[in-house]
């Protein structure tokens, strides 16, 4: 069990999309399981606003019912790696990406939780830490409906630049 951090320096949310609609390229953060049986849990979500004018954003952490196909490898300054240098190295870690050959689509299932992070990206930030909780947001396998989570803008968002990270633990 090791903790990893998927960090994106800057991405632009766009105006947001409804559920089951493909995200725009580089407008989201998505984390897909590394194998068909791998289980990971989200420990922390952080988003910091980088907008230059008032921009309310509605960011949803949700499972995807269309998972990203052929994810594009992250480029610097974005990263996805162990938090601690002596953490256990995985042969197939979870895959963090911000764009893919086929873009992911957020689940519309009403019985599966989403987490809503609404804040103003002009000088605002949001941080939620779930380390001590038992029923954390999980990623199971690498296919829908539980194999991928995304952090993306919902309809009603004013497009803004954000930076953020997802800290997660792979079992």
């Amino acid at each position: 069990m090791s903790a990893f951090s998927f960090t994106v320096g800057t991405f632009t949310t766009g105006a947001g999309v409804a559920d089951t609609t493909g995200f725009g390229a580089s407008s989201y953060m998505a984390l897909q399981g590394g194998t068909t049986t791998q289980m990971s849990f989200i420990e922390e979500v952080y988003l910091g606003g980088q907008a230059t004018a008032s921009a309310p954003v509605i960011m949803l952490l949700a499972h995807d019912t269309t998972v990203g196909a052929t994810p594009t490898a992250l480029a610097s300054p974005n990263s996805n790696g162990l938090l601690h240098p002596s953490g256990g190295v995985l042969t197939a870690p979870a895959v963090g990406f911000i764009t893919a050959g086929t873009q992911p689509q957020r689940a519309a299932t009403v019985t599966v939780a989403k987490k809503n992070f609404t804040f103003n990206a002009f000088g605002g930030l949001v941080r939620a830490n779930y380390s001590n909780t038992i029923d954390r947001f999980g990623i199971l396998g690498n296919t829908q409906p539980l194999g991928e989570v995304s952090l993306s803008a919902f309809t009603g968002t004013t497009s803004a630049a954000l930076g953020g990270h997802l800290i997660y633990e792979t079992m």
């Binding site: 068909t36 049986t37 289980m39 606003g49 008032s54 309310p56 509605i58 019985t111 599966v112 939780a113 989403k114 987490k115 809503n116 609404t118 804040f119 103003n120 002009f122 000088g123 605002g124 930030l125 949001v126 941080r127 939620a128 830490n129 779930y130 380390s131 001590n132 909780t133 038992i134 029923d135 954390r136 947001f137 999980g138 199971l140 396998g141 539980l146 919902f154 009603g156």
Partner: protein
Amino acid sequence: MKTKRSQEAYVLIDHRNSPGISLEFMHANKLDGPAVGAGKTFESAMAVCSHCGGDVILRPDRSRPREWCWSCDAYICDGCALVRKLGAPHRPLRQVLAEAYEQIIRKG
């Protein structure tokens, strides 16, 4: 034995240097989270609903009783409490994950 408080999550929304979010914006977009205005900071403990995994913000000013599942021995959100009152079977999140895991393993 763990206390309830030892299993809390934490949320911070910092608008000290920001125009913040208005109540009107929250209502217009049918959002039910905290509307943190200009110059304000919202910091709170949270529980995670053991039935759906959603956040339960533990507001100190809540006057209604908070929903609790005696089977899970954990907090649940108002939505899941309503579903329970309507007679839905008890199916916590950890059971959903365990069943999904079992299914994946059986598929090979």
